[in-house]
């Protein structure tokens, strides 16, 4: 059974493309362009003409659940329809090919994926393909937005079409050079080879094959059976740079005169500076060049970041209150509970059993290891920006608006990110850098301190999920879920300022909730089981900008699915079934059942476990794919209470096994890595990682109190099984691993301890650290580092 029943323009089948980069001229034939350029350049529409037929069929049915037939990725892909724009593969005289990718690379491996797609069609070795990140290209409109694990899905065909056109053009040029016919020639590893052994390199052909005028051409791309690279495990193309320290992040760029800059920030969320008592004194501190108040705080520019930190802490600032000074975890929780949409099926019906649960999920920081960074060089008539950005077009528009400059006077360079997890959809750090650079009249290299990230950064909104399920006679009759959340800020829209404004349509916040939050909820959630009458509803409290929120490696599903799977385990228990066989019986999709079986088999489901330890198994479907996760957890006192300095230990996930079906794994090795990362997030979110809100301040201030998974929390054994291709269409990966992993950890904890956890992470109720001061805002830099040398 096919999981997605999305409307398609062609007949469904293993080779039906997820989208057409040009009019699909029958099986595997597409239109693209040869572009007039000094060397060979071939291009394809990025999502351009996907097409009227598909849109006409893209009715959102009410049954079955929306997400099953038309998910967020369809929406992200459809959103690209009106923009017929090109991405190009360029051949260089040195025999390499270049591709400037309009997406962010934050560790998900999309540059490697792009290089593989090019290598496949161009018959060029992977190490001869350079993938760079494109500057903001406003003409791409929606199409330069990295989110929803959509990159692979939307780029899969366009990149291949461009590369295939380049290959055909090389063949034609080589035929002339070799005095042979195109059909007698073979492209192979960067050469066009003739039957008699003569050959000519791509480098030698790069200029000869260049097009004189831009023209539309037709090309055939490979069938799946012809793939040599796609589907094979490949290492990342940037791995060598990463392990040698050569990989450049924004703060590593050498932009002339862009000196380190940091911001003194308020003690409560979104406070603003009222006045500064000692500006001049701080300006005279060692290394300091500039100190200027900006909208969000006071910016300090100095010779080194160390001197910025000292100057920030020396500032004597009077602060205006923030947006939530009266709010704490318990006031927010009370508001959430009040706003919950009632469940409708009566709790007590004759002859039916009921399982109910209510779960609370606390705030979580995006917490990329590389903090927010941006380099800005603002001049009177232009501005240049370098930053890791998921929405560069929106960024360019915002900077232009802020400075009152025309769009083309602003250049935005996208730099590789040290993680993103949703955070880099928001351009606040760039706007701060722009303001500081303008006011100082100098270039700045702005970085947030880690403590700023925790306290003034963005976070996954606190939420509750309430579920009631009823069963009778071996069947589950109803399954109701009511998700209530602090509003998620979707004002980054789909990366483009018009939709971003759409999220701000008055009354304040309603545009955001009705325009984005509710649709996104319905486009992403589902209950992957045949549970009779299923309803899932979302309600949001506060306005989108009351709290600084965002998605954090997946939107709502880690929480939504964790709540569900905890109830599923209880249903199984009440109905006298083993958790695995129960799921097996009720899952509503063959692909889900297949990954479930695989995880159970490889993870040795049902093996005997010591008291205080347990297994659990869960599933998830999203991003046009399916996952199942089996974990084993150790909750014995000697494990839970093990002591590590400045750390939480707690229960340990000792083993994690995940089976994943993405339809068509382009790079199984990269996919495995993403799933491994997803497991670490699932562990953190279930067990250790949250922010505490008290009187408008987040108590966490660094990694010694915001407890993301550490080596000592990581499973000793992690195994990912990448399923062979099923649908033939690539799915998403970046966020995909988290929901079933988080759910499995929660379920295993419940089974090991006999106590069903009701709030997450499970350690949130105990504050296991002493909060750092908020004034001065940054923790002092230690001096005793040598004492810990080993």
């Amino acid at each position: 059974m096919e999981q997605r029943r999305s409307p398609r323009s062609g007949p469904p089948g293993p080779d039906t493309p997820p989208e057409s980069p040009g009019p699909d001229l029958g099986r595997r034939r597409f239109l693209g362009y040869l572009v007039a350029a000094p060397t060979l350049a071939a291009a394809a529409h990025l999502g351009g003409s996907l097409a009227a037929p598909r849109e006409a069929g893209a009715v959102i049915p009410s049954l079955p659940e929306v997400q099953e037939v038309f998910d967020l990725n369809d929406l992200l892909t459809l959103a690209t329809k009106p923009t017929a724009n090109l991405i190009a593969v360029v051949l260089n005289p040195d025999g390499t090919a270049s591709f400037d990718m309009p997406r962010a690379e934050s560790g998900q491996g999309v540059t490697t994926m792009a290089a593989m797609l090019i290598a496949e069609e161009l018959e060029l070795p992977l190490d001869k393909i350079n993938v760079t990140l494109a500057d903001a290209r406003p003409e791409l409109m929606f199409n330069q937005f990295t989110a929803g694990s959509n990159t692979t899905i939307s780029m899969y065909n366009p990149i291949r079409v461009a590369a295939a056109i380049a290959r055909e053009q090389l063949l034609k040029a080589a035929a002339i050079q070799l005095g042979d016919t195109v059909t007698a020639l073979t492209p192979h590893l960067g050469f066009i080879e003739a039957a008699d052994g003569r050959r000519i390199s791509y480098g030698d052909l790069a200029e000869l094959a260049a097009a004189q005028k831009t023209e539309q051409v037709e090309v055939r791309i490979k069938e799946r059976s012809e793939f040599k690279i796609i589907g094979t495990p490949q290492n990342r193309i940037d791995a060598l740079d990463a392990v040698t320290g050569r990989k450049k992040f924004a703060m590593d760029l050498d932009v002339p005169d862009a000196l380190p800059t940091m911001i003194c920030r308020p003690p409560t969320i979104k406070g603003t500076p009222a006045s500064v008592a000692n500006l001049d004194a701080v300006r005279r501190l060692p290394g300091v060049t500039d100190v200027v108040p900006i909208a969000t705080g006071v910016a300090v520019r100095a010779k080194t970041f160390g001197q910025c930190i000292d100057a920030v802490n020396a500032l004597d600032v009077a602060w205006n209150p923030g947006t939530v000074d009266g709010e704490s975890d318990d006031t927010v929780l009370a508001r959430l509970k009040k706003a919950e949409i009632p469940l409708t099926v009566p709790a007590l019906k004759p002859l039916t059993g009921v399982v109910e649960g209510e779960f609370t999920f606390y705030w979580r920081n995006n917490a990329a290891l590389e903090p927010n960074t941006a380099v800005a060089d603002v001049r009177a008539d232009r501005a240049e920006i370098w930053a890791p950005l998921q929405s560069p077009i929106l960024c360019q528009e915002q900077v232009a608006a802020q400075l009152g400059l025309p769009l083309n006077a602003v250049t935005v360079h996208v730099v590789q990110a040290g993680g993103a997890f949703g955070r880099r959809m928001f351009n606040d750090v760039v706007l701060e850098a722009t303001e500081a650079s303008k006011k100082m009249g100098k270039p700045v290299k702005l970085m947030w301190h880690r403590t700023d990230e925790c306290r003034q950064g963005r976070m996954h909104p606190m939420c509750t999920s309430r579920i009631r399920a009823t069963y009778s006679g071996g069947n589950v009759l109803t399954f109701e879920q009511r998700h209530t959340s602090v509003a998620t800020d979707y004002t980054q829209g789909f990366g483009e300022i018009i939709t971003a404004l759409g999220a701000k349509i008055p009354p304040l916040g309603q545009g955001n909730e009705l325009g984005f939050s509710v649709p996104v909820f319905h486009l992403t959630v589902n209950v992957p089981y045949n549970f009779g009458a299923v309803t899932q509803l979302l309600n949001e409290v506060y306005t989108y900008d009351t709290f600084p929120t965002s998605s954090v490696r997946n939107l709502v599903n880690p929480d939504v699915r964790t709540a569900q799977e905890l109830i599923v385990d209880q249903l199984a228990a009440k109905m006298g079934k083993d958790p695995y066989t129960f799921r097996r019986q009720f899952v509503d999709d063959d692909r889900v059942r297949a990954v479930l079986d695989k995880a159970a088999e490889v993870g040795e489901w049902g093996r005997e476990m010591e008291p205080g330890t347990a297994q659990a198994i869960t599933v998830h479907k999203e991003y046009k794919g399916a996952t199942a996760t089996l974990v084993e957890i150790d909750c014995r006192p000697e494990t839970v209470n093990r002591k590590i300095r400045n750390a939480v230990t707690g229960p340990r996930v000792t083993k994690a096994v995940m089976a994943v079906d993405t339809g068509l794994p382009i790079n199984p090795r990269g996919l495995e890595a993403q799933m491994q990362g997803g497991i670490m997030d699932g562990i953190a979110q279930a067990l250790t990682s949250s922010l505490h809100l008290r009187d408008g301040t987040l108590l966490e201030g660094s990694w010694d109190d915001y407890f993301y998974t550490r080596h000592w929390n990581a499973p000793l054994e992690t195994k990912i099984i990448v399923m062979p291709p099923t649908t033939g269409e690539p799915g998403g990966a970046g966020e995909f691993g988290v929901p079933s992993a988080m759910a499995a950890v929660a379920c295993a904890y419940a089974r090991a301890t006999g106590t069903i956890p009701t709030s997450f992470p499970i350690n949130h109720g105990t504050l296991s650290f002493k909060p750092k001061a908020t004034v001065p805002p940054l923790p002092p830099s230690p001096t005793n580092g040598l004492e810990f040398a080993y």
């Binding site: 934050s106 560790g107 998900q108 491996g109 290492n235 940037d238 791995a239 740079d241 990463a242 392990v243 040698t244 320290g245 050569r246 450049k248 703060m251 590593d252 380190p260 060692p286 010779k303 080194t304 970041f305 160390g306 001197q307 930190i309 917490a367 990329a368 290891l369 590389e370 040290g418 993680g419 301190h449 880690r450 590590i644 400045n646 890595a673 993403q674 491994q676 990362g677 997803g678 497991i679 670490m680 997030d681 660094s702 990694w703 993301y708 998974t709 080596h711 000592w712 990581a714 000793l716 992690t718 940054l778 923790p779 830099s781 230690p782 001096t783 580092g785 040598l786 810990f788 080993y790």
Partner: protein, 158 residues
């Protein structure tokens, strides 16, 4: 302005900077050695991990004045040089296992791993899971599973 002299990656360097500037900023902002990364500035994330005289330490938490003239600082850039090769065996293992995702933590992870292997050996044993559990370096992309494998591989070739 005070002058500080020490050795970085085999080269003698002299910098003019205030005594209390932490070594991380001297490396990055003054000397332009960008392999050590900032992730917290308070010795908890370990993204800045380097070696001093062969031992792992965190330059975000050491004043430049506390580095002695004969101290040898090694950053990820200088690690291959310590074995006279293009890559240190630990870096090779990292490539072999395709460990890095965003890569931001990885220079620090590799420097920590090398020191941890040496520390275990000095204690008379090969590195094992319990030693790896002691490594404090955060990887927010969650590459811990491959790091664990790569450290064991790399140790064998060290």
């Amino acid at each position: 302005m005070p002058t500080h002299t020490f050795k970085v990656n085999g080269k003698q360097v002299t910098v003019d900077i205030e005594d209390d500037v932490r070594l991380l900023w001297v490396l990055r902002d003054v000397l332009g050695i960008n392999g050590p990364k900032y992730g917290c500035g308070i010795n908890v994330c370990k993204a800045c991990t380097c070696h001093i005289n062969g031992k792992a330490f965190n330059p975000c938490s050491v004043r430049v004045a506390d580095v002695e003239p004969d101290d040898e600082i090694t950053t990820i850039e200088g690690l291959p040089g310590t074995v006279g090769a293009d890559l240190h065996p630990m870096q090779e293992a990292w490539l072999e296992r395709d460990v890095a995702q965003c890569g931001y933590c990885q220079p620090g992870q590799i420097m920590a791993a090398v020191a941890k292997v040496r520390q275990a050996r000095a204690a008379g044993r090969e590195i094992g899971d319990a030693d790896i559990d002691e490594i404090r370096n955060i990887c927010r992309c969650g590459t811990y599973a491959r790091i664990r494998e790569a450290i064991k591989d790399g140790a064998k070739k060290m």
